[in-house]
Structures are given as C-alpha cells and as structure tokens.
Amino acid sequence: MSEPAIEMRNVRKTFGPVIALEKADLVVHPGTIHGLVGANGAGKSTIIKILAGIYRKTAGTIRIFGETIEDVTPVAIERRGVHFIHQDRLLVPTATVAESIFLRNEPRFGPFLNHRHMRRRSKELLHRYFDLELSPDTLISELSTAQQKIVQITRALAQDARVLVLDEPTAALIDKEVKSLFKVLRRLRDDGLAIVFISHYMSEITEICDTVTVLRNGVDVGVVDPREVGIPRIVEMMTARNTSEMYPRRAVALGAPVLSVRDLTCEPYFRNVSFDLHAGEILGLTGLLGSGDKEVLKALFGQLRTDSGEIHLNGERVEFRSPVAAVSSGVAKIPEDRRAHGVAAGLSVRENVSLASLSDVSSRGFVNRSREVEVVSGLIDDLNIKTPGPDQLVKNLSGGNQQKVVVAKWLNCNSQVYLMDEPTVAVDVGAKIEIFELMNRLAEEGKALIFLSSDLEEIVEMCDRTLVIYRGEMIADYARGDIDADRLLAAASGAPAERGTPAPVRRSA
C-alpha cells in the first residue's frame, strides 16, 4: 500500500491522573475514507485534538506523509495539508462566502486584498466540487448549515488539502444534504484525498467508510472493513457487550400513588396533563422537540408557574414556586444540561455528591468532613464512578461519570420523586446501562420516577407506562408491552392512527 497520509502510533494522553487515551493507533491512507468510532469517552475527540495540535500528546509518534512531527501545532499541521472540519467551530457569520473560503489565505495585490480573484476562485471551486452556484458575496449567516459545511470544506480545498478530518459532519444536516455531502466525499477520495470521518451514526459509517478504527476506553480495539463485519459487530467492539444486555429493566410491583397530576395547564406549553405516578414506577414521558414534554417536568419542579390544575404529593396538594420548594418536598431532578444545571464542574466529586444531603453529614451547621468522605466514598464505589478519589474535580471526569455524580447526589436524600430529563444523553453505552441499573434500584426502593427521553427505544424498554405529548396535549398513555419505538414515534409525530387507538388517557389508576 502507499505511504500513509496519517500515521499515529501508540499515542497516549493523560490529564493529571485521568487517562483520556491509553495507547491508540490511527493510520489513514490516501484515497480512502476512514471512519473513527467509539462510545463517548473512548478517546475519539482526544485523538483528533492531538492531531489538530489542540492537545499535546503525552507519548507516541505522529507521522504525516512519512514525516515525523514532534511538536504538533495547528499551524504546522495545516501547513502539511491536514484540514479539520470541526463540528461546532463554524464560520464568521458576517463574512461573505469568498472571504470565508480565503480566510487566512487571502490573495493579495501588492498590499491590498485581491477581491476580484477571491470571488472568481470561490465561484470556480464551489462549482467544480459541489456543482453549487453560490454567489461569493453571500453572507455566511444567510447560508443553511449544509452550505456552511460546504464552504468549510471548500476553504480546505482552496488551500490544497491532502487530508480532511470531518467531525460529525452530518449532525445538523437533513437526509438530502447528507447524500450530496457523501457524493462530494467520494469524489474527493477518488481524487486521492485521505478523509477521516467521525460519526455516531453507524449506518453512515457503513455507507461511506472504507475502513474503520474502533476505539474503546482509550485503546484502538480494531481496524475493520465496516461492510464486511456489519453494524452489530462494530457496536459490540465499541461496548464490549451484547446488545441484549442494553436494557436491564426489572419491573417491580407498584405501590400507592405518590404524585397525582390533574389537568395541569401551563400556556403556551401544555394543557390538561393528568396522570398518576406510583411508588416503584418508571413513567416514560416523550414528545418531539418543542412538544411541551420538558415543560411538564419543569412545572413539576417549580421552574414554571402553572395556570391551572393540581399537583398532589402523597395525597396533599402542593404548589411549588421554586425548585427549592420542590426539593424540600422530596422531588429531585436530573436536569438535561448537565454542565449548566447538573454538576458544579469546578468543584470536587465530594462537594457535588453531598450537595443535596449535606444536612445528613453535618451538625449544628458545620460539615463533618470525615462523615462526608465516608458517605461519598461509599456512593463512588456503589455507583462505580470512575474517579481517582472523592477530591477529584468533576470537570476531569467523563460525561457518563459526571452523570453518575448527578444521580449520586440525589440518592442519599429523602427524595421520593425523581424527574429525569434525558439522563442518558451524551453518555457512553457502559455508563448508560449503569444509569438504567440505578433507575431499577430506585424503583425497587419504592421511589417514583419520570423518565424523559427522546431515545424511544430506551423509553419502550425501561418504562412501565409512557405518556406522549404532542403540541402540548397529552395524546397517549401506553402500558408496557403495548408499544414499540415505531408506534411511539408515530404518536409523538401526531399520526392520526395513533391518536385515538390506545386506551384513552387514564385519569386515575
């Protein structure tokens, strides 16, 4: 085979005591599209950031077209023709297409910018590679996400890119745009470019990639041909477990109703939501983006003022004017935005875990440090939180372990109702299963859970009952076993066939 475009060998990266990348190889040849897959925390973004010169490697060698590079910097790597299309680092919205394509590479006419050349070249490139008739004077802010992606790629091509690294390039694209992006990528590959393609979508990996490197826990566990081995095998390599072990739901006998909601209305988000939540129950809640499902949780946690309706907790009518009131009545929430609402990232695991139950480890207003360490260490072992110790800062943990910290915080206090808003989002598969196990455990202890997720399979597998919200209306209430992911999606999308058919919304148990 030809000389590799990228050859990373035995690359290692540690952050203090935390190992982000244990020992991984990434070898990409010219004229191929090479996939890079792995669960969250496997080290995908770490290895790419090392290649991009954003992180400095702890050990290992990096060769670009046979040339060993010791000190990888963003400039050095770009000079060798390696270009990165980052997922979030977009373009300057107020710049034009031509300006963006020639950013940091502006053609000059003496000391002045050669605008005429910039515009002509931009037009040419866009037409040649993408068959796109786009005026070079269009502002970036006027382009669709897909067009912006194309401008980013064109910018790399204008600088004679020999390697393209695309980080989740399809995340914000619609189907048709994905198809045309793939057409372009294939053409570039046939022109001899080396392309690294990072994606969570397995179907895309098998569709476009010639070879795939699978990472797990900071180690490359294999380089495979995705069409040959198939998706299930790749997922197994990523997670080291069978897909059947994914959802360990154990149903428990339901107890008395803990939370009863009657005709709860909060305009303009939702109307007339009614349900009963029992001890030991996991109640699914789902809907499309903007359907009002999240707002139901917010209202139950005192983050939204309701217009009418009643909430009863253990038979007593309650009205939460703030999260503080909800917490003190025994309602806990695992918020969706972990970084902003779930963990204090700059504080230690100990300080985060003990936050909601501090009164248990303190006396007369003073924290008993040794009791606190004891309790927190117990929870760390119990939940298998991977941290060097209770005093490690939470920001140094992986996403899944941060999420376990959020759950741990609420385990030890006397909450009865747990509102979980997308607890498994951006969490790797292993941690996901552990979070499901925790949900089981809470249910077995007689707690009542509301589980909101947009991953319908999770809902189907984990919940005793599922409520579907569509445009603020509670349109369906399914018992476990009545439902599969497809029907749930149809209901969430407002398909008429699903609106009436299942048992009418249950008013009381």
Binding site: A326, A340, L355, F366
Partner: protein, 328 residues
C-alpha cells in the same frame, strides 16, 4: 476518558502540585530579599508595624471580599462601607455619644450598604458588578454632602477622650486589640466559608449557580448574607481606620478596594481548584503588605512601589497558572 482502577495516589512530584506553592515561595523569597537588603526589615518593631498599619484593615476587608468572590460575585462598594461606617462613628463620637454607640452606629451604616447591595442583586436582579458600582457612586456623593464637599473631620483630644485609643492602642494579654479583632474575623470567616454548610452552598453558588438552585439551595438568601457580611466586615475596618488615624477622611476607603480584590485573586493561586480561600487571601494580603513596606525601606517612592507590586502579581500568578497550564 477512562481511569485505571487503582490510581489512588498522585505522583508526589508534579508541576501542578508545585504550582500551588508559587505564592508561598514568592512570599518567602520576598521576605528573604528584604531581610538582606532592607535595613531593619526583620526587626520586631517593623514587623508589628507592618501588621498593624498595612495588614489588619486590609485583611478584614479582604475577608469580606473573599466571601463575595467565592459566591461568584464582586463588591466594588467596600470603600463606601468603610467610609460611611467611619463617618457615622466619628460624627457620633463628636456629638458626645461615646465609642460604643459610635461603633454600633458605624456598623449600622455599613449594614445599610450591605442590604442595599443585596436588594439590588436579588430583587432587581442587577449583576453584582453594576449594583455595587452604583452604590459606590451614590456613597461618594453621600459623603461629600454630609461633609460639606469632602472636608475631613478631626476631633480634639477632649472630644474623643480615649475612645479611639481604646480600640486602636490598647493591648490584651500583650497583643494589640486590632490584631485580636482581625484574628476573630479570620476564625469566623474561615469557619463560615470552609467548615460550614453555609460556606459549602456559597462555594457551589460561585461555581454553578443553577446547580445550586436545582439542588435546593436558597440562592437569594445566601447571596444576601454574603454581601451583608462583606459590608459589616468593611464597616469594622472603617471603625479601626478612624480609630487609628483619630479622624474621618472622606473617600479614604476606596484605597482598599483593589487591594482586597487583588489579595483574594492572588490567594486563589494556592489551591489546585483556583478558588478563593481564607488562607490564600491572608497570604495575598501579607504579600502586598510586605512588598509595600520593604520597597519603602529600600527607598522606592510610592509610584515605583506600585510598579513593583504589579510585576510581582504577574510573576506569582504567571508562575502558578503557567505551570498548571503546562502540566495538562
């Protein structure tokens, strides 16, 4: 990211751990430097004078600032608390009410500043920087109006009749009273910030206010207490200031504002979380005080002292934050 299962101990020697000692090392180096080059620096008289004249008041203000910054805020109005407390204290004594009533009146004035800040921040949701800046402007005007355009109030020996000296110039068990007051404040703020449930909530508030809110922490209450505590500590500093100089000089409190903020931030360099702490702040205060005193002793004038301190701050923070950055 993954962690090996048995990494319980950190390597004993690494840059990050070392970076936490940069402030302490700088402090010791500076003491050594002045001990050699500044005549009389290490004499007991000079050391006590550093503490009495340069440390006590700044330390008390900086303790309040530490609480506020730990909660994620900033208080630009500490000078107003100092001045209004000092003004009311001196005016009451001048009117013949005596030292005790004067001190209570002074603290009451500071309390008003703290409550005003708390109301602006929690009720009107103005961010702490702008809320306290507004109070700073208003406070300055109040002083000018009350003193006929900013005239100092000097009292005759007959008027203060020992009240100032009881506070500033007596000793208890051989220790000057101001140092005892400072020590009490240090212990109180240390216990509150680092040992109590209240302090833990304040710390979480400073790092992630929404997390605190969603965990059931009463954010408004804690913010209010922090700003009131800062104002009261500054008020106490104002009373000490007036007692030391036996007068009230309008707008003299603002001199402590930037030093208090500076000491707090210098102090964040001593722990690996880079967060405000009582020990760190005290080290910051000592560092500033020793620098001022030492540079004076070796004959630098005031303007060049400021340059020296500026360079010192860059050095200390550059070393501690720089080393830390390198180790990632």
């Amino acid at each position: 990211m993954s962690v090996p299962s048995h990494t319980t101990s950190r390597p004993a020697f690494n840059l990050e751990a070392l970076s936490n000692y940069a402030v302490l090392a700088a402090f010791l180096a500076i003491i050594a430097f002045f001990a050699i080059f500044a005549d009389g620096f290490l004499s007991l008289d000079n050391l006590v004078s550093i503490i009495l004249n340069k440390v006590v008041i700044l330390a008390i203000v900086a303790l309040g600032m530490t609480l506020v910054i730990a909660s994620g805020g900033i208080d630009l109005s500490v000078g107003v608390s100092i001045d209004l407390s000092s003004m009311v204290f001196v005016m009451l004594i001048a009117a013949g009410y005596g030292g005790f009533v004067g001190a209570v009146g002074g603290l009451a004035a500071a309390l008003c500043v703290g409550l005003a800040n708390a109301a602006l921040i929690n009720k009107l949701k103005i961010n702490p920087f702008l809320a306290t800046l507004g109070i700073l402007f208003i406070g300055e005007t109040v002083q000018r109006v009350a003193t006929g355009g900013g005239n100092p109030i000097y009292l005759t020996r007959g008027q203060y009749a020992g009240t100032f000296d009881v506070i500033a110039r007596t000793e208890f068990l051989g220790v000057p009273t101001p140092i005892i007051l400072m020590a009490l404040c240090i212990v109180a703020v240390y216990l509150a910030l680092h040992r109590s449930v209240f302090g833990r909530f304040v710390t979480v508030l400073g790092d992630a206010p929404d997390v605190a809110r969603y965990s059931g922490v009463r954010v408004g209450f804690h913010t209010s207490i922090v700003f009131v505590a800062c104002a009261l500590l500054s008020g106490l500093a104002g009373i000490l200031l007036s007692s030391t100089v036996r007068s009230y000089v309008p707008l003299s409190g603002d001199a402590f504002l930037l030093d208090a903020i500076g000491a707090t931030f210098i102090g964040t360099a001593i722990n690996s979380e880079r967060r405000p702490s009582v020990v760190g702040t005290l080290l910051g205060v000592l560092l500033l005080a020793v620098m001022r005193n030492g540079l004076l002793l070796i004959g630098w004038n005031f303007f060049w002292q400021q340059v020296g301190i500026g360079v010192l701050v860059f050095l200390v923070l550059g070393i501690s934050f720089g080393l830390r950055g390198r180790s990632e």
